[in-house]
């Protein structure tokens, strides 16, 4: 079995457990509940680490689990025991960092051996009901050094035996270094050779993706090690080395642990991002208020400021990116459960799990994707006997594919099941009075399929028997639309169905083309949706029957009715890709394109499908961002050609 793909999940969960243990151990009073929780967390880490083959982490967790088990039975949680746990947690962190960077645990060294021994000894001491383990030479602070006495300063709760303290070394490399991550890896290997062990932070992967030029290294500190650090300064491209050693015995201070990993909610990150964007806007305003002379005089600092703000913005953005695989693991579990529940043999293929997406987006995709998979397993895939009769393999195939198309993210869920029956869907829609029989006869096949995403259609249970789809397709569609995207489907009867969620922007930052009508607020449209900009001075508008079209040589592109102001010869036509071909938006002004943060509208505006949200432009103005694709689709469905619009000027 390939365990590598579980590493992210292991680290994610593992770090959560380590964090919970740390929080639990630092509680003022260890209640029975807390101890039970501690036991559970240690137990979880043990199981996970062992199944990944990370024996050292598993051994530490096991030792801790033994200790907690004694606490559960009423043994006193003595200070030295808690200190030993705290050190074990640091080692687990270091192991996890090493796993993140290299795929395997950090080397076993004296620190680790000491720690494991200390845990064992404390377990022994706890078993005898004594706060044991303290060396004879250590000062004896209080009659009882139990948890309730509080106060766990360095020295007082000195762990025993005196273990190797850790030193922190900050290394910055030459900012012109071409491959900074590789350079920091060399530094890490140098330190590992010199000190026997070394944990690098942040992990290599992050250094690489964020193009960092600085890292923090934790090494066990020994006498005479200063000389080794001096050698570090002579390595190629090493710019700055800062050494921090701690007094012996205080190797694992709480503040150090905090520095290593800080948990932050997506909402807080959002606030950082929007503040960073806000600062950029303020800078624009400040700069605009300066005279030319002043601007020249302060140019250096203005540029530095802008560059740093830009950097800050980028850092916050990348901090939000996570690989898609975080959610695919969960979906794979879901498919296993579905297979069990339905009794169908299911295979689940994932393509493109490495694609990185915004964490908030990922969270909002998890539900619709589960929904699609559940439907596919329940209704799409036939029973084994039906499949064999149809000449298909017994095993049903569900696949999830994630790919990027410019700014857009396309996520497909497909099955090789019975497919959708367009005719039956049409019949059902007529029965329900959603469309007339005449309309049904005219409706193209793909539009017929779309009917199942209408709420009035898909809430009927009988649909699943007719169309092979269950309830809730409208929910999936609205989830995609809430993200500014849409749901596309493709099905061939007897062969299978594919649903594709099209998300116009995969990250928080979207490139939009800014346009508008004179005297009105500005509008934006994702540039990925704009195929062409036609100056109306060179391309005539013509009537083709009842449809107004823009003429490009032999091609006639229908004009969208959506237009909020007059457009004359000096205006432009924006050709937008719609679900059934290009459509043109007529605008009187077209400005530059800009990368912006789109803030989704709340309700009720958020319910209008083609409104994606608002964005702050770099000149401080607000732009209303529209989804061109949804705009085209809405007009096609409602056939609203040029109704209620402003007449053209001239």
């Amino acid at each position: 079995m390939d365990l590598a793909k579980y590493i992210d999940l292991y680290l994610n969960d593992g770090r959560e457990h380590v964090g919970a243990l740390r929080a639990g151990l630092s509680a003022k009073h260890l209640t029975e509940d807390t101890v039970n929780e501690l036991f559970r967390h240690a137990h979880s880490i043990k199981g996970m680490a062992a199944s990944m083959g990370f024996e050292r982490t598993a051994a530490l967790a096991h030792a801790m689990e033994d200790l907690f088990s004694l606490w559960r039975q009423g043994a006193k949680a003595a200070e030295p025991a808690i200190a030993a746990c705290s050190r074990a947690l640091d080692l687990m962190d270091a192991h996890m960092d090493a796993v993140a960077a290299t795929g395997s645990e950090a080397a076993e060294d004296q620190v680790a051996r000491d720690c494991a021994a200390a845990l064992k000894r404390e377990a022994g001491a706890s078993a005898q009901g004594q706060p044991g383990g303290r060396t004879a030479s250590a000062p004896s602070p209080a009659p009882s050094s139990g948890r309730e006495t509080g106060g766990r300063g360095a020295g007082e709760g000195a762990p025993s035996p005196p273990s190797t303290p850790l030193a922190t070394i900050y290394v910055s490399i030459d900012p012109t270094s071409a491959l900074p991550a590789a350079r920091l890896l060399i530094v890490s290997q140098f330190l590992e050779k010199a000190f026997g062990a070394c944990a690098m932070e942040p992990p290599l992967r992050d250094i690489q993706s964020r193009n960092l030029k600085r890292a923090k290294f934790l090494v066990p500190w020994r006498d005479g090690a200063k000389g080794k650090v001096r050698l570090l300064r002579d390595l190629p491209e090493v710019r700055e080395v800062v050494l921090e050693t701690k007094p012996a015995g205080a190797s694992a201070s709480a503040s150090d642990n905090l520095a290593a990993h800080v948990r932050i909610t997506a909402k807080e990150l959002d606030a950082f991002l929007s503040n960073a964007a806000g600062l950029l806007h303020h800078l624009n305003f400040l700069e605009a208020g300066l005279s030319r002379e002043e601007r020249r005089r302060h140019r250096f600092w203005l540029e530095r400021h802008r560059a740093m703000l830009g950097q800050l913005f980028g850092q916050v953005l990348t901090a939000r990116l996570v690989p898609f695989s975080l959610v695919t693991e969960r979906l794979a579990r879901l498919v296993r459960d579905l297979s069990e529940r339905t009794g169908k043999v299911l295979r689940f293929d994932v393509i493109g799990a490495d694609e990185e997406v915004d964490r908030a987006l990922l969270e909002r995709l998890a539900d619709p994707l589960s929904h699609l998979l559940r439907n596919a397993a329940d209704h799409g895939i036939e029973s084994a006997s039906e499949r064999v009769a149809a000449g298909k393999p017994e095993e049903g195939l569900l696949s999830l594919e994630i790919r990027r198309d410019g700014e857009a993210l396309l996520i497909s869920v497909s099955d090789d099941g019975r497919g959708l029956d367009a005719e039956a869907i049409g019949k059902a829609a007529v029965e329900r009075g959603l469309i007339s029989a005449a309309e049904a006869a005219r409706l193209p096949r793909e539009r017929m399929l779309e009917l199942i995403t209408l709420p009035a259609f898909s809430t009927r249970n009988s649909v699943s028997e007719i169309s092979g789809r269950g309830v809730g397709m409208d929910v999936v569609r609205s989830a995609a639309e809430a993200l500014g995207g849409g749901l596309e489907m493709d099905s061939s009867q007897g062969k299978g169905t594919r649903f594709t969620l099209v998300i116009p922007s995969a990250a928080t930052l979207t490139q939009v083309l800014v346009f508008g009508w004179e005297g009105l607020p500005r509008f934006g449209i994702p540039t990925s949706q704009v195929r062409h900009i036609y100056p109306l001075s060179a391309y005539p508008l013509v009537w083709a029957g009842a449809r107004r079209c823009l003429q490009d040589g032999e091609t006639l592109i229908p004009v969208l009715g959506w237009r909020l102001g007059p457009v004359g010869k000096e205006g432009c036509g924006l050709a937008v890709a719609g679900p059934s071909g290009e459509r043109v938006i007529l605008a009187s002004e077209v400005f530059e394109s800009e990368r912006v943060v789109i803030h989704p509208w709340g309700s009720p505006l958020g319910q209008i499908r083609h409104w994606v949200g608002g964005a702050l432009l770099s000149n401080g103005e607000i732009a209303y961002v529209v989804d061109g694709r949804a705009l085209c689709r809405d007009e096609e469905q409602h056939g609203g050609q040029e109704a209620g619009n402003v007449p053209d000027a001239g």
Partner: protein
């Protein structure tokens, strides 16, 4: 005595350039040259150079494979990878496989010598 270097690169131009940098320093002599990974492994066995400069992308056997092969034969081999910009993942893979350091094209004599001096001394 100057240290012996084996230069591995499929482009004759790059080999010539590295050779000039090394020889002009007065600290190194070129023990041999190879144009692909297989040749590099054979030359290493024959010449036992002090340092190898190894291009990554080469026909037949690439630099990472060659690096692994050489280290199998001599765990103490000092290999410096020669990479182009943007090959960070390949360089990291090489380092994980045991390469000692790397230089990035386009080469500056100063940087190449700094890296090779460090590796030769270490």
């Amino acid at each position: 005595m100057p240290a012996k270097v084996l230069i591995v690169d499929d482009a004759m131009f790059m080999r010539a350039m590295i050779r000039d940098i090394l020889v002009n320093s007065g600290r190194y002599e070129v023990a041999g040259e190879a144009a692909n990974g297989e040749e590099a492994v054979a030359q290493y066995r024959a010449l036992k150079p002090d340092v190898v400069t190894m291009d990554i992308v080469m026909p037949q056997m690439d630099g990472i494979e060659a690096c692994k092969e050489i280290l199998k034969f001599d765990g103490k081999a000092k290999i410096v990878m020669c990479s182009a910009l943007g090959q960070e993942a390949l360089v990291i893979e090489s380092i994980a496989a045991g390469a000692r350091d790397f230089v990035v094209k386009p080469f500056s004599a100063e940087k190449v010598l700094k890296v090779i001096d460090t590796v030769a001394a270490g």
